[in-house]
Structures are given as structure tokens and as C-alpha cells.
């Protein structure tokens, strides 16, 4: 028995995975989202070849040039090529999304799993604390973290990561509560499985699908939040080619050089849209009841 079970599960997962991708690209939302996200990843990976100029090179062209054949997105007030800066910005943005969500997802997941599995007082105290944090709103938690850590892009990523922990903890907790009521859970306990085994081998795999959806949508929230903090001057610092920061430096030049505002802003919006659509698409595939609506 023991030798058969793993292969069948693996085969199932393999078959399901192929079906998953097929169904994902068949839904318009999923396909558009996937394309945008893949483009973003490619841009980040191949920035060196895509960008015609060094993103930090001042005087790559004349100052405040409107978009042209040579400078696709125009130049900024230091004569830097905006297209190159936006391309390199994709790297920072992906990094922010992955790191921030990584922090909040792992911590929230652990909190939610432990609280939901343990029940009783542990659950009550942990979830009450999560509720309190949740009611602060993410931006206030992020500001508090930045007040403690000091400003800067790395600290902003950490702050955003910490700020979203309550959200992921809540989601995980609610899924665990549902899973705990299912027969396989009781069977596991009855068969004498230990706590670690129950949490990581039985509960975790059933929590993952929901967290993939929430995590993908979460990247868009993290990207928005980081751009917002950089826009406020609390995140990326000059001369980093971060989109939110680029937007904030366009503010005083809006009427003279609107392209400085239009391109970085569009980049943020398209990226966020991409992760939102991809998240929605994955949800449709994983939970077909949603599509029927």
C-alpha cells in the first residue's frame, strides 16, 4: 500500500496541474493576467538587454524631452532615459512583491495554522491579537514599522510584509476551521497522527490552494503599497528607478513633462492589474462555483 499511494497522488497532481494551466489560459481573465505577469518577469530578467540606456545615467539625453523614437518614454529632469528607468523598475517591483508577500504569507500561514489547529485559549488569544492588528489598517502598521526601522526601500518591503500578516492569518485560520470539520482530519487524529504531521502533511496541503489565490492578489496589494510609500518618500530613495518614487518626482513637473507621470503610473497600474487578473483567474479555476455566477 505504502509504495502505491505516493505515485498515484503524484500522478493525480501532475494531471491536475496540466489541466490547471489549460483551464487558466482558457479563461480570458487568467490568460491576460498570466501574459502581463510573464511580460513583467521577462522585462525584469532581461532588463540589461531591453533598456537602451543605464537607468541611472544622467544626461543620457537632453532634459525633459518628450517621448520620441530615441527616447520612447521621454527623459526626466536629469536627462535620464525614462524607458530604461521603467524597465529596470520592473526588477524592484517584482522584488518588492515577492519579498513582502513572502514575509506576510509565511508568518500569517503559521499563525493561522497554529491558531486554527490548537483551538481553545491559544486560538482565542492569537486571533484576538490578529483582529486588533487588522483593525489598525495596513498603512498605519506600515507607518509604525517605518517609524521604528527608519525609511528606505528594504524597510518599506519589511513594513508592508508585516502589515499584511493579520490578513493572511485570518484567511488561513478560516480555511483551517473548514478543513478541521472534514472526515480526513478526524481520521488522521483517530489514526494517531502527531501535531506536526497533522499540521504540515494534512492541513497545509489543503490550505495552499486558497493561499495561492490570496497570495497572487496579495502581490498586487504589496506592489501598490510599496509604490505608495515610495511616492510619499518613505520607500525608495533617489536615484533608484522605482515607479512610485518616479511618480513622486514627476509631481512638480506635471504640466511641463506629463510623460514623467504617465509612464511609471501606467507601469504600476498594469502590473497590479496583471496580478489581480491572474489571481481572479486562478480562483475561477480552483473554485468553479465562482465562475457560474
Amino acid at each position: 500500500m505504502a509504495s502505491i499511494a505516493p505515485t498515484t497522488i503524484a500522478e493525480n497532481v501532475h494531471g491536475e496541474l496540466a489541466g490547471f494551466w489549460l483551464r487558466l489560459v482558457k479563461s480570458p481573465t487568467g490568460l491576460i493576467g498570466l501574459l502581463i505577469v510573464l511580460t513583467l518577469i521577462a522585462t525584469a530578467l532581461f532588463a540589461v538587454w531591453i533598456a537602451p540606456f543605464d537607468p541611472l545615467q544622467m544626461g543620457a539625453g537632453p532634459r525633459l524631452q518628450p517621448p520620441s523614437a530615441q527616447y520612447w518614454f521621454g527623459t526626466d529632469d536629469f536627462g535620464r532615459d525614462l524607458f530604461s528607468r521603467v524597465v529596470y523598475g520592473a526588477r524592484l517591483t517584482l522584488q518588492i512583491g515577492v519579498i513582502a508577500v513572502g514575509i506576510s504569507l509565511t508568518s500569517g500561514l503559521l499563525l493561522g495554522l497554529v491558531a486554527g489547529y490548537a483551538g481553545g485559549w491559544t486560538e482565542r488569544v492569537l486571533m484576538r491579537l490578529v483582529d486588533v492588528l487588522f483593525s489598525f489598517t495596513e498603512i498605519v502598521i506600515a507607518l509604525a514599522c517605518l517609524a521604528i526601522l527608519g525609511i528606505g526601500l528594504t524597510n518599506a518591503m519589511i513594513a508592508i510584509g508585516i502589515a499584511s500578516i493579520p490578513f493572511y492569518a485570518r484567511v488561513t485560520h478560516s480555511v483551517v476551521l473548514v478543513e478541521k470539520g472534514k472526515p480526513y482530519f478526524e481520521a488522521g487524529i483517530a489514526a494517531g497522527a502527531g501535531h506536526v504531521r497533522m499540521i504540515f502533511l494534512h492541513l497545509l496541503p489543503n490550505v495552499v490552494p486558497t493561499l495561492i489565490v490570496v497570495g497572487t492578489l496579495g502581490i498586487s496589494t504589496a506592489v501598490l503599497a510599496a509604490a505608495g510609500l515610495s511616492f510619499l518618500g518613505l520607500g525608495a530613495q533617489p536615484p533608484e528607478p522605482e515607479w512610485g518614487f518616479m511618480l513622486s518626482s514627476s509631481r512638480d513637473l506635471i504640466s511641463r513633462a506629463p510623460w514623467m507621470m504617465i509612464f511609471p503610473g501606467s507601469a504600476i497600474a498594469i502590473t497590479v492589474l496583471g496580478f489581480n487578473l491572474l489571481g481572479d483567474g486562478i480562483r475561477e479555476v480552483l473554485d468553479p462555483r465562482q465562475v457560474m455566477r
Binding site: 483593525s135 517609524a147 527608519g150 511616492f231 510619499l232 511618480l247 509631481r251 504640466s255 507621470m261 504600476i268
Partner: protein, 306 residues
């Protein structure tokens, strides 16, 4: 009902209590010496730094600091700001009304646009209108507040010259409120659509239609009323989003509320002001959610009689 009210009020008080602890601990979480960091810009002697430490009570054990903080709190004393040396509560109270005005105006805009769009999409489910409304909503969720603000600023203030770029009068309120309202209308539209679709599928709506009631009556008296219940339950969260969003939007439009104040305080590392802001902001959000939850209980008989 009484039990529900007592539970909610207690939960709100616990939240505020935990906030006071968090706020006291905040200054101790700062790596290095917070007093030196705060006074880094000023020329100060070690004696002056020591005097500030004593004035802030930072030389005391932490439980005594907490006790002092709470006892001052009950006298309405949130300490004095480092920059400008003014009572923190006074600063917060002067800067709060503009934020409240912005947040409530935006909430009204979000509710009017979001509810109508969501309702329309649900009613015309599967049609071009539904798809169009939902595309708009997804776009609205994806566009950053501050970029939308800059775009509106560019078109309505700079290109067309219809509205002022910044200021504190009512005309200056239009652009920031629109920015914040439109962004949140998108969230509400999606929510309303799914809530209304659930309702339209339910038996009582079908029954109302089957017994021959006029369509508008079924829509407004039966469906909309029931659909509003889950939407109202989200209002507390919506208000919290609105307050959070205000922090960013205020900075785009130089709107002189607590949001701008908070950013200034973080930049200046003005810890008494940051602590005061967090406590104040959290308390406002907790109290508003409490009021909304109680209203919700009045609206939904399932809670009222449980």
C-alpha cells in the same frame, strides 16, 4: 441584542487597550537610542539628551512608563511633539476635521457610484453592461490612488483649469474626494454585484415576482433591502480603507489632515506625535466600526434577536 452590544463594546475597548500597550512599546523597538535619533537634527549636549529622556519618562522601568502613559491619557495628555513642542492632542484635533471631511465625502461618492454600478451589473448579469461595469471595477482596483490623483489633477486643475490644484476650501475638496471615492467605488461595485446576485437567486425574490408584484417594487422593496445587509457589514472596513487611503491622497493634494501630519511625523521621527497619531487613528477606526456594527445589528433581524 444586549449581549451582542456588550460583546462588541468590550472587543472595541480591548482593541484600544492593546493599542496603548503597542504604542508604549513602539519607542522601545527602535534600534539604537530613540532620543538621539529624534534630536539628531538639533545641536544637543549629552545633558540635554538626558533631560529629554527623563522628561519622556524613558529612564523609568517599562511598566512604570506604561502606567504614566495611561494616567496621562485619562487626563487627555498625549505628550508634546518634538517638532514645535506643542501638545500632541491639540495638533491631532486641529488636523483631524479635514481628514474626516475628506473620508466621509469620499465614502458618499464611493457608495453612490459603487452601489449603482454593482446593482446594475447584477441586474443585467451576463450582458455587455455587466462586463463593462466589472472591467471598470477591476481597473479601479488596480489604479493606484496617487496616480489617479495626479491624473485628475493634470486634467481638471492644470489642463482645464476648472478646479484648484491644492487648498483647504470646499472646491479643493472635490479632486481628493473624487480620487479616493472612485478608487473605493470599484471595490464596492464588485461587492454589491456578488451580494445582489446571491439575492436575485433566492426564493423570496422569485416568489415576489411570481405573485405579480411590479418589477420596481420587487427590486427596491425586496431585493435591494436584503442585498444591503451584507454591504452595510462591509462599511466599517470601507471607512477604514478610506481613512488609510486618505493618508496618501492628502499628500497628493496637500490636504492638511492627519494623513499629511503622520508622514511629516515619520520623516521627522517625532515619536510622541507618531504614538499619538497611531492611538488616535486606531481609536477612530475602532469606534466607527463599532457604530456601524451596531447599526448592522439593527438592520439585520437575525442578529437583533439572536
Amino acid at each position: 441584542m444586549i449581549r451582542y452590544i456588550i460583546q462588541r463594546v468590550l472587543a472595541a475597548l480591548v482593541t484600544i487597550w492593546i493599542t496603548t500597550i503597542a504604542v508604549t512599546l513602539l519607542i522601545h523597538a527602535v534600534p539604537g537610542d530613540p532620543v538621539r535619533i529624534m534630536y539628531a537634527k538639533f545641536q544637543s549636549t549629552p545633558e540635554q539628551i538626558e533631560a529629554v529622556r527623563i522628561a519622556l519618562g524613558l529612564d523609568q522601568p517599562i511598566y512604570i512608563q506604561y502606567g504614566l502613559y495611561v494616567s496621562r491619557l485619562f487626563q487627555g495628555d498625549l505628550g508634546r511633539s518634538i517638532v514645535g513642542d506643542q501638545p500632541v492632542l491639540d495638533i491631532l484635533l486641529t488636523r483631524f476635521p479635514p481628514t474626516l471631511l475628506l473620508a466621509t465625502t469620499s465614502l458618499v461618492i464611493a457608495v453612490v457610484i459603487g452601489l449603482s454600478l454593482g446593482f446594475l451589473a447584477a441586474y443585467k448579469r451576463g450582458t455587455v453592461i455587466d462586463v463593462g461595469a466589472m472591467v471598470l471595477a477591476v481597473l479601479g482596483v488596480s489604479i493606484p490612488h496617487f496616480w489617479l490623483g495626479l491624473l485628475l489633477l493634470f486634467f481638471f486643475a492644470l489642463q482645464l483649469g476648472w478646479l484648484p490644484v491644492a487648498g483647504s476650501d470646499l472646491r479643493s475638496l472635490i479632486l481628493p474626494a473624487l480620487t479616493l471615492g472612485l478608487a473605493n467605488a470599484a471595490v464596492l461595485a464588485r461587492l454589491t454585484r456578488s451580494a445582489m446576485i446571491d439575492i436575485f437567486d433566492q426564493d423570496f425574490v422569485r416568489t415576489a415576482r411570481a405573485k405579480g408584484l411590479p418589477k420596481t417594487m420587487v427590486l427596491y422593496r425586496h431585493a435591494l433591502r436584503a442585498g444591503l445587509v451584507p454591504i452595510v457589514s462591509m462599511m466599517g472596513l470601507q471607512f477604514a480603507y478610506m481613512m488609510g487611503g486618505a493618508i496618501v491622497v492628502e499628500n497628493v493634494f496637500a490636504w492638511n489632515g492627519v494623513g499629511r501630519l503622520a508622514i511629516e511625523a515619520v520623516f521627522a521621527r517625532d515619536y510622541p506625535l507618531i504614538q499619538g497619531f497611531i492611538l488616535f487613528f486606531a481609536t477612530v477606526i475602532v469606534l466607527v466600526s463599532l457604530v456601524i456594527d451596531l447599526l448592522y445589528a439593527v438592520l439585520d433581524p437575525r442578529i437583533r434577536y439572536s
